[in-house]
Amino acid sequence: MTAVVVGASSGLGRALANELARCGHALLLVASDLRDIDAIAADLRIRHGATVRSLALDLAREADPGARVAAALEGLPPLASVLLPVGLSRADDDFGLDAARIGELLAINLHAPFAIAHALLPRLREARGVIVLFSSIAAVRGRGRNVVYAAAKRGIESLYESLRQRHRETELRVQLYRLGFLATNLTHGLALPMPAAAPDDVARLVVERLRRGSARWYLPRRFALVAMVVRLLPWPLFRRMQS
């Protein structure tokens, strides 16, 4: 069976690609730069003997990413899972972005997962497949930083709810992960209030749970408590935290 990983060139996406190949899945890897995904594809073929296809897509500019992904699946084994760990955040996403940059963030974080999920739904339903969506701890409560990013991730949570509301568990499974800090180049050098999780560890859990039904999880799990505290903080206190 084939798994699609969108955002496969680095961080959690790359870790997921590796774990899926190790577990014997055929793969379609999607990322913006062919140099990266070709290197990953070669590595997975050599190490795991996996069937891997690469697709370079600039999600910030691609009008119909879903159609491109669907077309690239031709000839691969039936589609069983779509994982969408794609994401882009910016340090200046604090009401300092112009319209073009806002559009870019929304295209990558929101439009692309929506479009790809829509395009692949028929194939997934045929195989009672699974869509795996990734939100962020940043989406728990809107703050003065990661403004567009958090809003897009809130949109992903809405997509999760809509998919579950529309499709019975017997025809499509939908999984959502709210991710805390991961040790990727996005957190490199940041003074984090909590230790960052290794993408490989997170990927192992995500792939293990692919066979399960629809559900929503926090990873690492301690972020469930963090989210609850952030949500319950009285407004005057929460507002003070923004400064």
Partner: protein, 443 residues
């Protein structure tokens, strides 16, 4: 620095002699690798396990190649592997041994990267038989700032190929390499030959020049200076001696060994350790040897390195031509008797190659001398005197090992130093690639 995955961090050399707060970039995609401003000084960083500050310092941004560790092509029939430069040697050996191949030249630290091995042109367990890392290197890809990657080998841009091997990362960032592989010995036995001194060790080494594993260990204390054992690893046909498996990555020596809060290798500690090693190993004998022990002896040396404490250690490594070696060894014994430095270990190896540029190669016997608390007055004086002694005997230093070496000494000790330096400059005229090593030795 926004958008480049750069952050300030504290880095130190493996020998603990150089620490610096510097900018460390962790690119995880190709476009980030070439995203720094065109005039930003930079240096590639592999495993970060060099004894000297070869991958940081000198005002450069360290570019970690951790994410560039992918296998790009593997010819299991003819034994060729193309791999990104950040791949760790230990990981590669594990992968290859499972498929009936291995890299015959590998440094002692399994976390050294392929790029680091090329940039240092490291030697392995018997350089006289297997040469240095470049011997097994067919081609490499070098990325220079805001330029297309250069694919070079011995025919295409041989000058850049030659300058990059033992070029300490100063010609550009090594992105990937194609390596020739060898069939590993099915089994190994380790034959131990006790020796009374370094001159005798040199004779034993020369007689066993074709062994897959060949090195000596010697007492560095004044009382028994040079006494030790030459370890000769020989291929064995006996299935009981199966050697072709490596322990998992978790058993690899870490890139940073946490030091003990005190220096265990003071005079009393060193004397006790030497007596124990003498009792344990300096007897004639033969025993099966695992390839893991043969390839990565440092995996068993965690406590040894921790024992240097916060003061760390320094390793002077000199290759002395055969005709001068006995006189050098005798003069060294006299020097040690006079100055009584805290020598933790002396290792001897045989070389039979030709030096090129800054590489550590030649035809002779190399001594690696590890000294505790090298900043102490007595030890520093010994290391200076050792350098003079080695130069007087036509010795050649290993620049990538010795953090105490000064530019003036390196210039006198290496024939063609200026030519090698000029060759580096030809390939990086703006000197954008730099490091503490490059600064200290004025490379």
């Amino acid at each position: 620095m926004r958008g480049y995955a750069v952050a300030e961090t504290e880095l130190s050399s493996f020998d603990r002699q150089f620490h610096a707060r510097c900018a460390l970039q962790r690119p995880d995609r190709y476009r980030l690798l070439d995203a720094l401003p065109a005039d930003a000084p930079r240096i590639a960083r592999g495993g970060g396990v060099s004894y000297v500050g070869a991958s940081f310092g000198g005002g450069a941004i360290s570019q970690s190649l951790d994410a560039f560790d992918r296998l790009l092509a593997f010819d299991a029939e003819h034994g060729r592997l193309t791999v990104e430069a950040g791949a760790r040697i230990g990981d590669l050996q594990r992968f290859l041994l499972e498929r009936g191949w291995y890299l015959p030249v590998a440094p002692g630290h399994p976390r050294a990267s392929v790029g680091g091995c090329i940039a240092a042109d490291v030697h392995g367990k018997n350089p006289a038989r297997d040469g240095t890392f470049r011997t097994w290197l067919d081609a490499l890809v070098v990325q220079r700032p805001h330029a297309e990657p250069c694919v070079v080998d011995r025919e295409h841009d041989a000058d850049l190929f030659g300058a990059t091997c033992a070029g300490f990362g100063l010609t550009g960032t090594i992105v990937s390499a194609t390596l020739r592989l060898a069939r590993p010995p099915r089994a190994l036995v380790l034959r131990r030959v006790p020796v009374a001194n370094l001159a005798e060790a040199a004779r034993v080494l020369r007689e066993a020049a074709n062994a897959p594993v060949l090195y000596g260990w010697h007492d560095g204390g004044a009382a028994h200076f040079g006494r030790g054992v030459v370890n000769i690893g020989l291929a064995s046909g006996d299935d009981h001696d199966r050697a072709d498996a490596l322990p998992p990555a978790a058993a690899d020596l870490p890139a940073r060994v946490a030091p003990l809060p005190f220096t265990a290798w003071n005079r009393a500690g060193l004397t006790a350790a030497n007596r124990w090693l003498d009792w344990r190993w300096c007897r004639a004998g033969q025993a099966p040897m695992t390839l893991g022990d043969a390839l990565f002896p440092l995996n068993r040396a965690r406590l040894y390195f921790a024992g240097f404490g916060h003061a760390g250690m320094a390793e002077a490594q000199w290759l002395v031509p055969h005709p001068r070696f006995e006189a050098f060894a005798n003069a060294l014994a006299d020097l040690v008797a006079r100055t009584r430095p805290r020598i933790a270990l002396i290792a001897s190896k045989l070389f039979a190659g030709t030096a090129d540029g800054f590489s550590f190669d030649g035809n002779g016997v190399a001594l690696a001398i590890q000294v505790a608390t090298p900043a102490a007055h007595g030890e520093r004086a010994f290391l200076d005197a050792l350098a003079e002694l080695a130069i007087a005997h036509d010795g050649r230093p290993n620049l990538i090992k010795d953090s105490t070496l000064e530019a003036s000494v390196a210039r006198r000790a290496i024939d063609g130093f200026e030519a090698a330096r000029a060759r580096l400059a030809r390939h990086d005229p703006q000197r954008l690639h730099t490091s503490e090593l490059a600064r200290r030795l004025a490379l």
